[in-house]
Symmetry: C2
Amino acid sequence: MPVDKLPSRSEYFSDWYNQLVISAELADYAPVRGCMVVRPYGWSLWENIQSALDRRFKATGHVNAAFPLLIPMSFLEKEKAHVEGFSPELAVVTLGGGEKLEEPLIVRPTSETIVGYMYAKWIKSYRDLPLLINQWGNVVRWELRTRLFLRTLEFYWQEGHTAHATEEEARQETLQMLDVYTDFAVNDAAVPVVPGRKSDSERFMGAVDSYTIEAMMGDTRALQSGTSHFLGQNFARAFDIQFLDPNNQLQLAWTTSWGFSTRFIGAIIMTHGDDQGLILPPKLAPIQVVIVPIYRDDHEASEVLPVVEKVRAELQDFRVKVDDRTEVTPGFKFNDWELRGVPLRIEIGPKDVAKGTVAAARRDIPGREGKAFLSQEGLAGQVRDLLDRIQLSLFEKALAFRKQNTYEPQDYAEFQEVVKNGWAFSWWCENPECEIKIKEDTKATTRCIPFDQPGGSGPCIFCGQPATEKVYFARAY
Amino acid sequence: MPVDKLPSRSEYFSDWYNQLVISAELADYAPVRGCMVVRPYGWSLWENIQSALDRRFKATGHVNAAFPLLIPMSFLEKEKAHVEGFSPELAVVTLGGGEKLEEPLIVRPTSETIVGYMYAKWIKSYRDLPLLINQWGNVVRWELRTRLFLRTLEFYWQEGHTAHATEEEARQETLQMLDVYTDFAVNDAAVPVVPGRKSDSERFMGAVDSYTIEAMMGDTRALQSGTSHFLGQNFARAFDIQFLDPNNQLQLAWTTSWGFSTRFIGAIIMTHGDDQGLILPPKLAPIQVVIVPIYRDDHEASEVLPVVEKVRAELQDFRVKVDDRTEVTPGFKFNDWELRGVPLRIEIGPKDVAKGTVAAARRDIPGREGKAFLSQEGLAGQVRDLLDRIQLSLFEKALAFRKQNTYEPQDYAEFQEVVKNGWAFSWWCENPECEIKIKEDTKATTRCIPFDQPGGSGPCIFCGQPATEKVYFARAY
């Protein structure tokens, strides 16, 4: 049971993160370098994320399927940019059933190639389009520097793959799915994000245009939280995804792909957490309300426990846990559930029984200010209201933090200063050379060219040449 | 779009199965030998199976987690029987990130070893027990002869892994989970199963006792549909899963594992299907009710379509699809949805509009007998009732079929005859030599030693020695 104090979040953000993931039992290190075990508490959070996203995918007409884990090595080579990007990251199966394989198989790092191969088989006519398929699964990328959730050899995600008859429709799909991610991040995870387009250098290998939502973590670094790619006809050409149009002419399809991964659990931790541990947004928290009974002896227990049971029943529409452990003190329980980020704690003791109240403590507001006595009467409504307020307040706090730490530097000297501890929102001429130099000088990269632009033009923050778009620059995870 | 007629189920069962899986778009062959793509219709069926099982797992106190795909080769060697059993079936990753790995990694064929390793890390005290974790995921076994769903290199499943303080509790868990599988198979899939113990030769590699549910397919062959293993202290010993008991003494834990896979989709197909295609049990069918509007011209359409919309709304608590395609005839649609096994079809034409009725056709009863006119008034209740009847009737039909094709042969000559086209329920002395000889003579293996025993004793069907248990023998998938 975790009792060690966490490192200070403000002073040792990175250690704070690493230790918190372990202490809160979200995940653990696997015996293979860079792999993780997602423990039940972390997986339950992921299940809630999955269900919130999956609902949105289905509402926008997508269905789920499962494509194979193992992909012939030759497939990757069919799309030039794709193979260049992924080759260094591959895990390769060379032995099967005790024998050397004639063609090595890669463990999928992403599935555009295998999906492209199958789509070519399934799509014959414009009537088969659009084809809107998503897959929940695992992928493997041989990363060198790994961190739990943020970058692991194997991770869990969804990858959507769609094929369309026209460019316009495929472009709409790409943006629609970015909207879905934005809506989820903002409304369910309380994580403010900036949606926008990736620069050429940050684009997905094989895409025509990549879009991203970027979030600011508690140390002001950026985390790419979900991406959506317009693939043009690149994969359709590589895999012969063709269809007969209404005039009986063969046409190449237009495809998209979009993905969201367990990495986002890292975003939730690093956006909301504090020195005491996790703070989970109510809509996604595995446990929304923990009830801690308070009593000193059997007599008090006999008064308190029936009320605890009654309250649990009253709150049946929430994800509730009663902490009835007898081997630890209430104080220990408070710390334990604070560490695990349960949004609302309810304490019930003999005085509450007498007064018909419960004591409620908000996880997001420490100390007295976050505490209130609630009437047992109509408790469910009050809890709903409190959870809604916590959800909103987490979002507002994170948004305010991002605003505080986002700068519009006047010149490159100021730029270099502000990106040490924040984001810079600056004019950029879109010349990759400026991007490279900025990265060399400051470690900051272009995070995205946001949809939301001031208009007009200004001098590139690096070279001073005229630029028509402003870009977010930041050090990133 | 699939229009080819299926091979006759009674004459060409195997071809019928293979073609049906493809035609109904449940799955497709992947480019890698022996791998499959589960298509959206098949995956939706699997999602319904998952949700029906997962609900039961959670109700019995289990939580989900995710253990890694890649396992060090050396782990497998820690449990002797386990490595012997799985070695020939392994897919091995030898290259990672462009370099040869120091220790090869296996793609998990099952996760007892990696789970054992983590449990040893997590379990310290009796207070940490029982540990009841399940995982939904993919595994890879390098099979030589493969068939879609029934045996593929990669398949999808859940694997439960639990650790307990006492043998008795672990044995109870093993049997409880077999009960969960039985309950699911019978009540949700309408597949009658025989629960029982596996013979020593059919036991899971590394288990002390293996239990199974066995189902009879439409060609009378048996299909092992779910297994639950009491692992004793074998894996606890191999991986040092120890805990301090209440007296502060170190003890080895007792563990179990249990699994249920996409193979069961094969069981559903082969239990219920007919010459026209799939027949899916209403509780699991991705589409429970398909509505086909019938009209000849725009005028009729303008009468019919609003009623179709009204009926769809009335049936919103069911999984309903309106087939509004205009490029195909109603007759084509009927065949198409019969092929896909939708339990109930509702037709709405101008006469139904005039009379306030709909025409309902049960998938499980072909022709006139399965048809009825239902009033549009209170339709949801009537549909619920019909679906319940279809669910029950599928189960009863399958059970009757199993009974008809299960024999109690008087001697070995008759035994050899009956297992050509059925199951034999016979006394067996539990000598593995008799089992081997029987398999050589007839291809029939011991499927299970059912819990439900007649009592008493009798002569072994092969050697005539006294036996105290009766066993099901059958040719199996």
